[in-house]
């Protein structure tokens, strides 16, 4: 089994990806912590951390503010920021759109889709924010905890989807005459593509069409700025300044998802530094055979521990060991399949701790498993 090396911190940008509920935030925070301990100025950008972890990192309720985490023994610096994705979109629009169109855009329902529910929009703005902070030069290592994604493609496809959304040429051409005239409503139906527009209006209503037309006019100035920026973000993520960490648990479904995520990341020519298997059940018996209750009863007797209770202590211990072995061997089988599927990407395992990981001390414990000491 391998571990991450601190050579990882030669990368300026580290992106943690994976399904929801696998512990991405913990891994991202641990990586940034380790970077600080190895002398780097590091920041972790998280989306929706557990409250206690947020407290441990000193994260305020307010989003998009970098907060320094006190680490007296670290030669580097640890910073944390909770990303507010909606606000990041609003800031992006404010930066790129002239004042006369700005308010209309921020109110438009299509902008609401763009900034909140369009597949990939959260992923995109998170990487855009990452790019902005990277450009500022304030930090040497930036670790991004991505939003839970159903599909790795949502993440990689994000810029293309957004560009499609902002600069859809066929749609623009269809609506252009009405846009130029500055008039909407029934005028739409006097143009080419009449059948299509009629069909559409029966599905969604004419008001929706009008609102879309307005949105396309207002967003136009943003399009070129966005396109340029998206290309730069993409370039950074595909360069050797960036590394991806694919996080999963050892459960069947997340492992399947991790395998397909990995394939997509590799196809997209990104640099996957490691697959991190989090919360892996450990068999404390190791290579030893599973003891029967009788065997344990004998040993209890030898150690002078009373085998009391109902069921007897020896029986309960044997059962606990049996359950532990079942969980550990199921995990081991899933992780072997994962390792074979992502070869030669190294797999790093972090054991499941009996309690949740919520403070800096616990993050250091995770770091001990994640990183080799060399």
């Amino acid at each position: 089994m391998s571990a991450l090396s601190s050579r990882l911190f030669e990368r300026e940008v580290i992106v943690c990806v994976g399904a929801g509920g696998v512990g991405k935030t913990t891994v991202a925070a641990t990586v940034a912590l380790q970077a600080a301990l190895s002398g780097k100025r590091a920041i972790v950008l998280t989306i929706d951390p557990a409250r206690r972890l947020a407290n441990a990192l000193g994260l305020a309720e307010l989003g998009n503010q970098a907060t320094r985490v006190e680490l007296p023994d670290a030669p580097g610096e640890l910073w944390a920021m909770m990303l507010d994705l909606k606000r990041s979109w609003d800031e992006f629009i404010t930066r790129t759109v002239s004042t006369e169109h700005r308010d209309a855009i921020l109110r438009n329902r299509f902008y609401q889709t763009l900034s909140s529910s369009l597949a990939g929009s959260q992923e995109y703005i998170a990487t855009e924010k990452l790019y902005e902070l990277h450009s500022s030069g304030r930090w040497e290592v930036l670790v991004l905890d991505t939003p839970p994604t159903q599909n790795a493609l949502d993440f990689l496809d994000a810029p293309r989807r957004i560009l499609d959304f902002l600069g859809n040429k066929p749609l623009r051409r269809l609506l252009a005459p009405a846009l130029v005239a500055g008039r909407f409503g029934l005028r739409l139906f006097q143009m080419g593509g009449k059948a299509i527009l009629e069909g559409l209006s029966r599905l969604t209503g004419i008001e929706t069409l009008e609102e879309l037309a307005r949105f396309l006019v207002e967003i136009q100035p943003t399009y070129d700025a966005f396109k340029e920026r998206a290309a730069k973000v993409r370039e950074l993520l595909a360069s050797d300044r960036a590394a991806f960490l694919l996080v999963t648990t050892a459960h069947g479904t997340p492992v399947e998802e991790a395998i397909s995520f990995h394939r997509m990341l590799v196809e997209a020519k990104t640099n996957v530094a490691a697959v991190i298997a989090n919360r892996v059940h450990v068999d404390h018996l190791g290579e030893l055979s599973l003891p029967s209750p009788e065997e344990l009863a004998d040993e209890l007797l030898r150690e002078g521990v009373p085998d009391s209770g109902q069921p007897a202590l020896s029986e309960r211990l044997a059962r606990t060991l049996r359950e532990m072995r079942a969980l550990a061997s199921l995990d081991a089988r899933n992780l072997e399949r994962l390792a074979a599927s992502v070869h030669p990407t190294p797999q790093v395992r972090v054991p499941r701790f009996p309690a949740d990981v919520y403070d800096l001390a616990a993050l250091r414990m995770v770091a001990d498993h994640l990183f080799s000491r060399s």
């Binding site: 509920g21 329902r109 889709t113 959304f165 209503g205 018996l285 065997e295 209770g309 606990t320 009996p354």
Partner: protein, 299 residues
Amino acid sequence: MSRLARRLHVVIGKGGVGKTTVSAALGLQLSRAGRRVLVAEVRVQQIPRLLGAEGRGYEIVRIADRLEAISLDPKEAMREYALMRLHSKLLVRSLLENRVVTAFLGFIPSLPELVMLGKLLHCVRTGEWDTVIFDAPATGHGLTFLGVPQALRDAVPPGALRSEADWMQEILVDSTATAVELVTLPEELAVNETLELAEKAGQGLGLPLGRVLLNRHVPLRFSDEELKRLEVGIASEKLAAASRAAREHEIRARRSRHFEERLRSSLSLPLVTLPMLHPERAFGRAEIEALAERIEAAS
């Protein structure tokens, strides 16, 4: 018949808490109690496989007596919705194969959620099944789904979309028809999210809440006294491993009880604990059966 059975059970929770497993178990339990059950999931097809059947695209799959499954797909649901509106297969085909149209439809806020929810609630309405179980997407997206009819009623003028939203909302807020089942784990993050979810779904969206299903629950097994005796000076390797396993077991068990109590005191909802299972092979039909029995016993 279970007093907890409704026409629609929405199974919701944070990613990774076991929503799909619980949906399958609930489906098995209700179908065994004599109800005709349809289990619906979004975009994926995990439930037939979990229960040892084969999925077949977007057709309804028969899994067992009175138990069927369906996978909701945005494109397929859009096609069905368009057909309902336009009454012409030819028109629907030419529209939905048009790049401009598909691009346009992709922009409409929450349209995929609306048409999929429409398909789901149509299944509830037909009466072909006594109970429909919806394995909803994880928290945020799940709430978006359930909030779509209300959002549309607020945002859209009367018309085609608005009348869709009206009948859908009527089923969703009817406490004799619908129950939102909250699946969670004995962990801080999952429990916090469940409490927020209950608030947002209940007070926020006005949806009737059903039960809390606390998954991967670990039972108390060792006393402090026993753990202390096992802690010191154990020479036997196996007993030392057993001691360690027992200590970890008990930490989890006590956390299970702690979070169970927290959920009980914060939410006045029935709570069902579903035990942590330890399958010898992969997690599958036998495990779902065990959970179904547990749900039945608690009903």
